[in-house]
Symmetry: C2
């Protein structure tokens, strides 16, 4: 403890408290508090960085092919052949987005998520739109990834089929607890499962192709009951193809992860992050194409009972052997890891939006374990709700998904294009510092602007295709939700600005000091608790009025006599309550007194509050003090003081 | 408004407030408040009195026969023949109880419920046991009567079978709302359905007997699937007969109603009430015997799908015609009326027990419609819960029922027997005033004592038989619950006595007045709200310490500077919070200050509380004031004051 004497005459004392009590159930679950100074500053190289940031993107290969097939199946078995051409189009889109994001990574070495890029280059409304789209999408990433993970497990062990939702919620809660403890983003934890998955998938696709070329790869044995093949209602139309394409674009979700995480890379950060992005996109593209091609070759059918990955693996490895189980296990684990990524991103983004004043301020406070606990819990609750409502069905969740991702892609790249335009119009040598990056004139800005602009236009079209083709299936929910969220964000911001301007001391003309102090003392009876409150009231002011609400005139008579003995001459007002109400007559009296108040007069209501020895005993007493407080909170110039009287 | 000047120098002002706001949704549902002066003082004659008080007792004929058959059916169809002899035994028991209660009615003209009789004659423990038994039983009366009413409706309209529980809860809520409005116990409302039921039942039994004697009454056509007849596992044993007898004694439930309601009768009250009791018991006995005999004659089987009453009615009237429907409707209505009786009795008894200090005091307050609203709502909630848990099955609920009734019969009659003994040992001419009645020597007390004693012994045996034979079926719940409730009642009483003695001003030596006043002002920032609180604090005392919990040293630095400008020289303490906690370091500081306190020194925590314009905006601010209050409530000598700062 040390003392500073400021020249203003104010004494300032610094104190450092102890660690505080520990050992509660909650603390045992999430660990003891960590001091602020312990915040980690660890950086990773390219190999570990790939493992840390790629799980979300790579894991989407586990469901993207299947979701294309689900739509095509509406037009019968023959239509499934369109899956591969569609996946080629998607990989081209992936290439465009990758090149575009590569530029973002170099421009924002401090981390260039869509929210930051849109905020710095496009302004408030696009930024909040990106924020709303991303937050919605993080929730859906958790719901979709966990549901797909559960689908893999159920494929390997069908008796679990009826318990999909329960399993999903349990996994979400598990990931939540892990994140509340605070994940040390240590390489090993992430590297092992990500590379295990990559190896297993390349092995499966590789063995599959070899057997396919040798002609020993048969068709899938005992295909599961299909979702849609039973009734081929539609014919193949451009709309259907676009619909299937939209479903397949979920393969691109998670590609933006690296651009958020650049600060975590070793120097040269941007270069390392950029190379990692290229690696990731290449792996993603190859696996996605391979899986889709082989699925067609073996005649895999989309089904809620068995995932396409499971059908592929047991066809390639001739049954449910050890290798099959390894594929399923690695897929399930990487899907859970993908959900885990959202548990890092959602709280971080909501803290960022909250710090900008567009979300409740509480979201910006780090909890005892140095993580944004409130955001983590909120994410887990909403994602669990989605899993329960959609019964952990990936196909039902997909129409809500990806639209937010592509909206944020569009805004982010449009922001980058605008940034290049600004740079192109700077004088050479000039430098402008923005919040997220610094702007300096660079030649060749035109090409960069075209790349980002083209990327933005492509993803804008995909967003539109997605919204139109999936509108009836559920995309309408997102199309209503996103603007609604933006409106909420903006009104929260307006509220905070309003409060700040009303609390600000700039141009503040201090009100004259309080001149008169009137005290009202509501009493239910005359006892020791009342006298303690009376004693306190007499210390506050000489102008005291005791008020008793009477439902029974005989009792009021007795109370008057008792007050004559103990009331120290203080004025007593008896308010009759013919309707046997306690609070209303008292409030009415207080309001009448308040109405007659002089300027600079303040009214304090001193309420004797009886405090029993145990909390449950509160149920045995009228909670007048609490109700009175709630009723009077909104009245200016009235202060309520409980004088607690503890009997034990 | 008038003013009395008491000689003590205290000014006492009487005020009468207005009716207060009205028109809320709740008020439209239950009606506007009624002034205390409107309490009804209506009395009824014998014919209306029978209608008002008999519904509970008479309605039990709707299920008592069926419940005897349910048990006998365990030993196969042949065993059903024992039902009639068993019902004769039950009617003999009814006669004994009636004669015994007849004496109670004359001894307690002011109302002689089991609780009052036990309290006045046996003491605290038996009285609270009777109270617990009766309250439990009122809840079960609602659950059983409504479930049986639903069973009648379902018998007439089987498609409703899957919605039994929903229907039951809806009926309970309907009766609750009616009672919250306050039932004017006007004769017509009660007389019509009760006499409709009595007429329909006598008609059915009468027509049934005529057809039986003429030989035209056949067997029940298409009997419903039986509950137990499919597997006749048991043989007829004395235990089985006693078990069936115990089920049948539910016919006696409600017989005590008149003894509670004597004050409602016209003078001569006791005589009128006594005659009504005899009528009621006669009707009950005749109907019960008639229904049981005819049920045997037509081969009725116990079933969840169709009640015995329904089987009887459609056999007597050859199908589901108008007369059949009239029987079912009248039965359903009287069962709902029986539930309604509990909605009068339960709140009245709980108010009585509460006024004696054995239940939370709130239960003794009449609501805006002059009824004990809290008791009514509590009853509805618990009864609904039972209906849902037992899926509105009368047979499942019966093992919990009646044991409380017979326990209270036993205690009430034992109390009466003891009363006669006391009277027999008084000197002639002596008169003792008890709370519920007056004692005066009377000759012939020996016979009366024997009658009540015999009644008590009989019902004690029945209680025992019930407890033993129905123990595994659910009676164990009541055998645990009743003593548990008694223990709760006694601890509530102990708490109230403890509080009263600690609050009492008898032998109270007033503590010396408060000598020192120390004020602590927790601040999160320096703004207008803080300055309003500072102004208030300066009015309270000169000894003020502002405290700021700091999670960020740079911000704390800025706050110090601002405090130097605006803090009016008041001491500022900065408490560092390395674990980013807000409340704990503050509480620790306050506790340290409190520990150094001198005698007669009081500490006031002045908390600036920011009040937003709309309630939902509270979610956007830290609720420090609220949490601080909860944490400090139990600390003696610390007073918390919120200084609200409304920005709009």
């Amino acid at each position: 403890m040390f003392v500073i004497n400021k020249d203003s005459g104010t004494t300032v004392v610094h104190r450092e408290p102890g660690r505080g009590p520990s050992g509660s159930l909650l603390q045992r679950l999430i660990g003891s508090p960590l001091p602020t100074a312990d915040a980690p500053h660890q950086t990773v190289g390219k190999l570990v960085g790939l493992a840390v940031f790629a799980s979300d993107a790579l894991s989407s290969t586990a469901y993207a092919t299947q979701e294309i097939l689900v739509i095509l199946a509406l037009a019968g078995t023959a239509a499934l052949g369109y899956a591969f051409p569609i996946s080629i189009a998607i990989v081209i889109l992936l290439a465009i987005v990758t090149v575009s994001y590569e530029q973002t990574i170099h421009a924002y070495p401090g981390g260039g998520g869509a929210y930051i890029v849109a905020r710095d280059n496009l302004g408030e409304l696009p930024a909040q739109t990106a924020g709303a789209a991303l937050l919605t999408d993080y929730v859906l990433t958790v719901a979709v990834s966990i549901s797909s993970g559960v689908a893999q497990i159920v494929s390997a062990y069908p008796p679990l089929y009826p318990y999909r939702a329960v399993l999903g919620v349990a996994l979400v809660l598990f990931v939540m607890v892990v994140n509340l403890r605070g994940v040390k983003e240590s390489g090993a934890i992430f590297a092992l499962p990500t590379y295990f998955f990559v190896v297993m998938m390349f092995l499966t696709v590789g063995v599959g192709f070899v057997r396919y070329l040798l002609g020993t790869l048969g068709m899938v044995v005992g295909p599961p009951p299909s979702l849609e093949l039973t009734a081929s209602l539609l014919t193949v139309t451009p709309f259907l193809i676009l619909h299937a394409f939209a479903s397949g674009t979920t393969a691109l979700t998670g590609v933006e992860a690296i651009s958020n995480g650049i600060p975590a890379f070793k120097e040269p950060r941007s270069r390392n992050a950029g190379i990692t992005l290229l690696w990731m996109s290449s792996i993603l593209g190859v696996l996605f194409l391979g899986i889709t091609y082989l699925s067609g070759a073996i005649g895999a059918v989309p089904s809620e009972m068995e995932t396409v990955i499971s059908q592929l693996a047991r066809t390639v490895y001739d049954g449910r052997g050890l290798l099959y189980l390894a594929v399923i296990a690695s897929t399930a684990v990487i899907l859970v890891m993908a959900a885990n990524t959202s548990f890092a991103d959602f709280p971080r983004l909501s803290a960022l939006v909250s710090a900008d004043g567009f979300l409740p301020r509480q979201l910006a406070y780090k909890g005892s374990r140095l993580v944004y606990s409130r955001g983590i819990v909120a994410l887990a609750l909403v994602a669990s709700l989605l899993i329960v409502v959609f019964n952990a069905s990936v196909t039902s969740l997909i129409p809500l998904y990806a639209i937010g991702v592509f909206l944020s892609f569009t805004l982010s790249q449009a922001g980058m294009a605008h940034r290049w335009w600004k740079i192109g119009h700077m004088t050479p040598g000039e430098e402008v510092q923005e919040r997220g990056s610094s702007l300096r004139y660079a030649p060749g800005w035109q090409l960069k602007m075209i790349i980002n602009g083209f990327g933005s236009a492509c993803t804008a079209i995909v967003t539109l295709v997605f919204a139109v083709t999936k509108f009836p299936d559920g995309a309408w929910v997102v199309l209503i939700l996103t603007p609604a969220l933006v409106v909420i964000f903006l009104s929260i911001h307006r509220h905070y600005k309003h409060v700040a301007s009303h609390l600000s001391l700039d141009d503040y003309d201090p009100a004259p000091h309080i001149a008169r102090h009137r005290v009202i003392l509501p009493i239910g009876g005359v006892h020791r608790g009342t006298l303690a409150a009376l004693d306190y009231a007499r210390m506050l002011s000489n102008d005291i009025t005791a008020v008793h609400v009477s439902m029974d005139s005989a009792e009021a008579e007795k109370l008057q006599d008792k007050w004559g003995v103990w009331g120290e001459g203080v004025r007593l007002v008896i308010v009759d309550s013919p309707y046997r109400r306690m609070l209303e007559p008292l409030l009415q009296y207080i309001e009448e007194v308040a109405a007659q108040r002089q300027p600079n007069e303040i009214i304090t209501i001193v309420v004797p509050q009886f405090v029993p020895g145990r909390w449950w005993q509160n149920a045995l007493h009228m909670q007048t003090a609490t109700f009175l407080r709630l009723a009077l909170l909104f009245k200016p110039g009235i202060v309520i003081t409980d004088v607690p009287y503890q009997i034990d």
